[in-house]
């Protein structure tokens, strides 16, 4: 295949966003329709904070790959946007203000102790991607910004219309991004369309953008499943009293570790994963890995068709 013109290449990148950006994710769709429950909004805010903390780190990695002072001069602005010029300013601070506005404890959010394992995995995968790819692909992976401006506008309108319990000051992060994202995206797009000189380069850029869309998508998958109520699949046979506790399915038997067995007994379709964590932390005060254990277990079992997640 021959190299596409810059306009064709841009159209290709935009088509990826149309098809795969997380504005289509069921969780975002429900957010924007106004049907999320307050606890779902809170889980999203607490978890998405972890993503925000990864952004300046990712941008630092990109800076370290750049040879061109003009590129660095521009790109370093992103880190300033996120971290602020001084304590108490910048995007991360605005996100904590959102945490306040939805009724979360900002210290707790900042401590990242409630971050879901699937969210951590997705965000770390993004940093790893940038660490292990060249400047061109790393910049291309940032191009989800092309679609961020629109989603921020939708989101502000949705919060104003449907979630009046969220104080308006909380929305300042979204407002700041409606200005920053288009400018950042224009810079990144100009860079990528200029530097991707061969068809192969263009393919790599498209692949990087797709990968980034996948990462954002799986972040929301994890948030979404935290509030779904898991129950055993209709065909599954639990054998919890077997010397090797397991669940038997059509194509496999899944062995359960000690905590898995206990978690599974709570997956009866009446509790969400978040509620299961709460229940187990009452049973086992001081147990530190419950968030990871429970969500990790439920996600894994859902992936194996042992559990069905009901919304």
């Amino acid at each position: 295949m021959t190299v596409a013109t810059p306009a064709e290449f841009e159209a290709r990148l935009r088509a990826i966003g149309d098809a795969r950006y997380h504005h289509r994710h069921p969780f975002n769709v429900r957010m924007h329709e106004g049907t999320l429950r307050p606890e779902e909004i809170r889980t999203w805010v607490a978890n998405r904070y972890y993503y925000q903390t990864r952004i300046p780190i990712k941008d630092g990695l990109i800076l370290a790959k750049a040879q061109d002072p003009a590129f660095r001069r521009d790109w370093i602005g992103r880190i300033h946007d996120h971290d602020g010029a001084r304590e108490g300013e910048g995007g991360l601070e605005l996100w904590l203000a959102l945490a306040d506005a939805v009724g979360l404890d900002r210290e707790r959010v900042a401590s990242q102790c409630d971050v879901l394992p699937g969210v951590r995995r997705a965000c770390d995968a993004y940093v790893d991607f940038v660490a292990s790819h060249d400047l061109l692909e790393s910049v291309a992976s940032s191009l989800t910004e092309l679609f961020a401006g629109d989603i921020m506008l939708t989101r502000i309108a949705a919060f104003e219309a449907h979630y009046p319990w969220v104080a308006i000051e909380g929305l300042r992060y979204f407002q700041s991004r409606t200005r920053q994202a288009p400018a950042d995206a224009a810079f990144g797009l100009a860079y990528v369309t200029r530097e991707a000189r061969t068809r192969e380069d263009q393919d790599r850029c498209a692949g990087a953008l797709e990968r980034k869309c996948e990462i954002l998508w799986s972040l929301l998958d994890a948030v979404d499943s935290a509030h779904a109520r898991p129950r055993l699949a209709a065909d599954a046979i639990p054998r919890l009293d077997d010397a090797e506790p397991m669940v038997v399915l059509s194509e496999r038997a899944v062995k359960l570790g000690g905590s898995g067995r206990e978690i599974l007994t709570l997956c009866d379709g009446t509790r969400s994963a978040v509620e299961i964590v709460a229940e187990l932390s009452e049973r086992h005060p001081g147990e530190s890995h419950l968030v990871e254990d429970v969500h990790g277990f439920i996600d894994e079992m859902a992936g194996l068709s042992v559990l069905i997640l009901e919304h």
């Binding site: 209709a234 065909d235 054998r239 077997d242 010397a243 038997v248 059509s250």
Partner: protein
């Protein structure tokens, strides 16, 4: 129950119950024994039910009803009930041309939990060519009956030179039918498949193309879970056949012989005991055939000292026997095996023009 008395690392989790070798199809890669016509259906519903109960105390948790075409066994409903009442997960493996909706629903009521349906190809003409009968359209209707009942559906397609190029279409069909799993099983060269190997063996390039189609499909949301394993003729190491001889899986033939895999009865000189002449436990724990290759004592060089023996158990005994004449030899699929040249030469068959395959049951194929 069960696992408590699992002995020295061998517990049969699965019972593969071959109810009958009869089958209306005549697939060119059928893995049933070449003399399948001479094997009687010796166990009735009561005998199978007793076997399932004994199996439960050996540790079995899952029963696969297979064949041949298991739905041709006249006591199938009682067999399903018997397995379910013994606490097993009951899974039916069928070619899908013999059961109608009401009979399937009745089996579901008796405790059937899932169904595996074999298809031969993605579209009718090619599929019916391989099956040697008109069956594809019936199968599709059957698949819908399965999913309408809410039963998990596994689609199984045996891959070979003639259909590998259509893996993307097979995946699309599985998606359309709402299959939860898709098994893309490369033909194993036993039974009729060995007889027809020269027509079936694919080229490495074909396999690579299929593998990348699978990779692509796995990236898409909401599709079936796809199992695709490269045939061992093309990898340098053998498969851990059946998870080890007499270790995880117990096969019972229509005449009640207890085997470590569906093919082991073909190995000359091995004595396998029959149920109910002896208890299931005796057949599994002590029959000379099962003991012959359980564990590692039987291994020769190079397996005996090879660090990989704990993973692959020296590979497939049946393949070793069939290709080298010595069932205790290293599986010739292994590049370290003395007999590996046989497999290397066979790969070349894929580059010559395919001979006309013979259907299962064709007389001329019997004097192999």
């Amino acid at each position: 129950m069960g696992a408590a008395d699992a002995k020295e690392g061998h517990r049969p989790y699965n019972l593969v119950a071959e109810l009958t070798y009869r089958c209306p199809l005549r697939c060119i890669y059928c893995s049933n024994p070449l003399n399948h016509r001479e094997v009687p259906d010796a166990l009735d519903g009561g005998a199978w039910t007793r076997a399932f109960r004994e199996a439960a105390s050996l540790g079995v948790v899952h029963v696969g009803l297979t064949g041949g075409e298991p739905t041709l066994h006249p006591d199938l409903p009682d067999i399903v009930s018997g397995a379910a009442e013994a606490g097993h997960y009951v899974h039916l493996v069928t070619a899908g041309t013999t059961l109608d909706g009401p009979r399937l629903a009745a089996l579901h009521e008796r405790g059937l939990r899932s169904v595996q349906l074999s298809i031969q190809d993605a579209s009718e003409a090619e599929a019916d060519e391989v099956a040697g009968t008109r069956s594809h359209t019936k199968k599709l209707a059957f698949a819908r009956q399965v999913t309408d009942l809410g039963l998990p559906l596994t689609l199984n397609a045996v891959l070979h030179r003639g259909n590998l190029a259509r893996v993307p279409e097979i995946i699309a069909l599985a998606r359309r039918l709402g299959a939860r799993h898709l098994e893309l099983a490369n033909a194993q060269y036993h039974g009729w498949a060995l007889r027809n190997r020269a027509s079936l063996l694919p080229s490495a390039a074909q396999l690579e193309e299929a593998a990348s189609a699978v990779e692509h499909a796995r990236g898409e949301a909401d599709g079936p879970e796809i199992l695709f394993v490269l045939p061992d003729y093309f990898s340098d190491r053998p498969k851990p056949c059946m998870g080890g001889w007499g270790r995880r899986i117990l096969v019972m033939t229509p005449e009640g012989r207890v085997l470590p895999c569906h093919d082991a009865g073909e190995i000359a000189g091995l004595e396998f005991w029959r149920y109910p002449e002896r208890s299931l436990e005796a057949c599994w724990e002590s029959s000379p055939g099962i003991l012959a290759f359980r564990g590692e004592d039987w291994m020769q060089a190079p397996c005996r000292t090879c660090p990989e023996r704990e993973r692959d158990f020296g590979g497939c005994r049946c393949q070793a026997f069939r290709l080298t004449g010595d069932a205790a030899a290293a599986d010739p699929a292994c590049s370290l095996a003395p007999g590996h040249a046989i497999v290397r030469d066979a790969r070349r068959e894929a580059t010559v023009e395919a001979p006309v395959p013979v259907y299962r049951g064709d007389a001329r194929s019997l004097n192999r």
